[in-house]
């Protein structure tokens, strides 16, 4: 019987073999990309291909740290949030994007070696059923599969999912390094689609994390008139927990907070067109109303003015979901969330347009430098 390390080596071999032998499409069709699109992709792809279920964001946080500009001094708070402070003086402005992604956590191991799971965040569980699985451990990932249901259970939603790592017994699963508390996802890959579009899992909110990094890299620090705090937060998907810790730490100090997070778009033939119809590829979005916050109209107007003054594409809309900024509002801080349109949110095949990543980064930079 192979141990966990052997299995991980085998997984690596498989990936290599598949890369070499598959007749599949190229993943990054970027020959004609502009410099800005190429920059966005270069930052986004490694973040998307890092794993970080809520509460286990370490790999993503380390990836963000590696991508920070060399001058940036980061610190990690006790909650796990990553902070970078730029500039001096009041009013303090916070921009915050989250590191975590939806997934599962192991809650137990059955006698037959299959893993019982609980969900971390909200999503359609059938999208994981009968698909490859990865159990994330400190020593590396252990491959497995999400079990399919019984054929007689014919409705869209499956029973609670389990994972088979091929162990056959609880003892063997544990010998491979599986234990309760570990997180579980499925393998993911950043892949380019036609034009400037791309697909992958966990664009929510790696795009926000990417935009903050690009904004920092391009920031004219001499132009700052006040302090701007960039935060990459944890445990957003399970209740804005990292943001709550950051908000409590800052209390009434900030004037504004800009949550940099997904604008779930109805730009798809299978969505209702009642609201959230912000096409991908037409720029960042002022997320003026969602399930957690309402931006005061005067602030929306100001944001639109900032965008116009800098020539940045900005849409205005309303969608569903909550955002990290809403944890700051009880302290008297105004939440002005800025999103980017996303198709098929919280699915393994989310779709974005890289032009919106560029627009979002430019919007963050404009807010930091001029508002």
């Amino acid at each position: 019987m192979a141990d966990g390390r052997t299995v991980r080596r085998a997984v690596g071999d498989v990936l290599l073999a598949v890369c070499l032998l598959s007749a599949g499409p190229p993943d990054r069709l970027s020959a004609q990309d502009s410099t800005r699109i190429a920059e966005a992709q270069a930052v986004l792809a490694p973040l998307v291909e890092s794993y970080g279920v809520s509460g286990a964001e370490g790999p993503v946080r380390e990836a963000v740290k590696r991508l920070l500009p060399s001058w940036a001094k980061s610190e990690t708070d006790t909650a796990g949030n990553l902070w970078v402070r730029v500039g001096q003086g009041s009013p303090v402005v916070v921009v915050i994007a989250h590191l975590d992604e939806i997934g599962f956590r192991v809650t137990g191991i059955r006698d037959d070696g299959t893993l019982e799971l609980e969900t971390r965040g909200g999503f359609i569980s059938s999208l994981f059923e009968a698909k490859p699985a990865l159990v994330h451990t400190d020593q590396g990932d252990i491959a497995g599969v999400f079990l399919p249901r019984d054929s007689g259970f014919t409705r869209h939603t499956p029973p609670p999912l389990r994972v088979d790592v091929g162990a056959g017994s609880r003892a063997k699963a544990m010998a491979r390094g599986v234990s309760a508390g570990q997180t579980v996802t499925m393998p993911k890959q950043y892949v380019r689609l036609s034009g400037t579009r791309a697909t992958g899992r966990s664009f929510d909110d790696r795009v926000g994390a990417t935009a903050q990094l690009i904004a920092l890299r391009r920031l004219d620090r001499a132009a700052l008139k006040h302090q701007v705090i960039f935060i990459w937060s944890v445990r957003e998907e399970i209740g804005l927990e990292g943001a709550a810790a950051a908000a409590a730490a800052l209390a009434t100090t900030p004037r504004r907070v800009h949550a940099i997070d997904t604008f779930v778009s109805a730009d798809s033939p299978i969505e209702l067109p009642n609201f959230a119809v912000t096409p991908i590829g037409r720029g960042a979005v002022a997320r003026a109303l969602d399930n957690s916050s309402i931006t005061p109209p005067a602030y929306v107007d100001s944001l639109v003015q900032v965008a116009r003054a800098r020539g940045v594409a900005l849409q205005v809309g309303t969608t569903n979901g909550g955002n990290d900024g809403s944890e700051f509002t009880p302290y008297g801080v105004v939440d002005v969330p800025i999103g980017w349109p996303l198709r098929y949110s919280h699915s393994p095949a989310e779709v974005i347009d890289l032009k919106d990543v560029v627009s979002l980064a430019d919007m963050i930079r404009a807010v930091a430098e001029t508002w």
């Binding site: 032998l21 599949g24 409705r155 209740g239 033939p269 198709r343």
Partner: protein
């Protein structure tokens, strides 16, 4: 962005360890095959001491041709990463022809290779094809609609199409493979829009909108996509446990890999053995195998490679490559007339 249920702890009700294609179904599918691994009822890939001793004995027998386990694993992974929608197997056929110089492709698409000469004249086959999809229509906004292909007489599970939803697919266009995804409703936008007790129907191919990133039909066509272009789930085979291979149609592909590995071991065949990788086994009349028999027969004996699979007809159909090892040995023995 936060959405949907938070921290809902799983409870396990009514799920069957063998998945929606239960093991008795798998056995029914493979009963026609005469040379396959015999297994106890229920999927178990564990090898007992007796079996291990038997294998040791087998390996000590001099006439058995040599093949490397690593070669078999590579072939199985390679075949499992390929797509061969029934009736549209051209790409995989081309790969097999490159793998076996001297092989031929008949007009139906089968790849055949003749080993040895004289009598008896025997046939060993392996079906290549899989249930899949073709582009049925291209919409003005660049989305593609699909039609399922295959499955007649071996009806796809009611949950078969649902595996597409929200996942990456590959469209095999005239200019090469094009990545796309099948649209799914965003979790956040479904909230509060259906009352408790609302019907929960399975996803079918008629709900499948493929998004390749195109914004118009012309852009999609510019990628080489046209009606009838084959479409499949993106193939990403996964090895787990002790040489377990998970992939769509992993059973068929590992069985074909076993046959290919046996050929590569250069057996000293008894009489003539025709090796045929056949097409269209999942469409109406199994025209591929019928053509081989008509064109190259008659045969004194016919065998088909098959392996037992767990989680059959799903994206994680699983075979034990140890079973494939044994199948290679059995094929070699049969070819050499032992």
């Amino acid at each position: 962005m936060i959405g949907g249920k938070r921290g809902v702890r799983s409870r396990h009700i009514g799920s069957h360890p063998e998945g929606w294609a239960r093991y008795d179904t798998v056995q029914k599918h493979t009963r026609e095959y005469t040379l396959q691994r015999r297994v106890a009822p229920g999927p178990s890939f564990r090898m007992g001491k007796t079996a291990a001793a038997f294998l040791l004995l087998l390996s000590a027998l001099p006439p058995v041709r040599l093949f490397a386990q690593g070669d078999l694993d590579r072939l199985a992974l390679r075949f499992a990463s390929m797509t061969a929608v029934t009736g549209l197997e051209q790409a995989m056929v081309d790969s097999l022809r490159a793998l076996f110089p001297g092989s031929t492709r008949d007009h139906v698409g089968n790849v055949t290779l003749t080993l040895g000469q004289g009598s008896p004249k025997r046939l060993f086959t392996c079906p290549l094809d899989e249930v899949g999809y073709v582009v049925g229509n291209i919409l003005p906004d660049g989305f593609l609609l699909l039609r399922r292909v295959g499955g007649t007489g071996r009806t796809a599970s009611p949950l078969f199409d649902q595996q597409l939803e929200g996942h990456r697919v590959t469209v095999f266009g005239a200019r090469g493979a094009v990545p796309g995804v099948v649209a799914v409703k965003s979790t956040h936008l479904t909230r509060g829009r259906s009352a408790p007790g609302t019907p929960d129907p399975v996803f079918t191919v008629d709900n499948a909108y493929v998004d390749v990133g195109a914004t118009s039909a012309a852009e999609a066509q510019g990628l080489g996509i046209a009606v009838l272009a084959p479409v499949s789930l993106a193939k990403r085979p996964q090895l787990y446990g002790e040489r377990l291979l998970a992939a769509p149609v992993a059973g068929r592909r590992a069985a074909c890999a076993a046959l290919a590995a046996a050929v590569q071991a250069k057996p000293k065949v008894k009489g003539t053995v025709v090796v045929a990788f056949t097409v269209q086994s999942l469409y109406t009349s199994n025209a591929g195998l019928a053509s081989v028999k008509a064109l190259l027969g008659p045969f004194d004996d016919i065998k088909t490679a098959a392996l037992p699979a767990r989680y059959a007809d799903t994206a994680v159909e699983t075979v034990a490559l140890a079973d494939a090892d044994r199948l290679v040995r059995e094929i070699l023995q049969w070819m050499e007339g032992r």
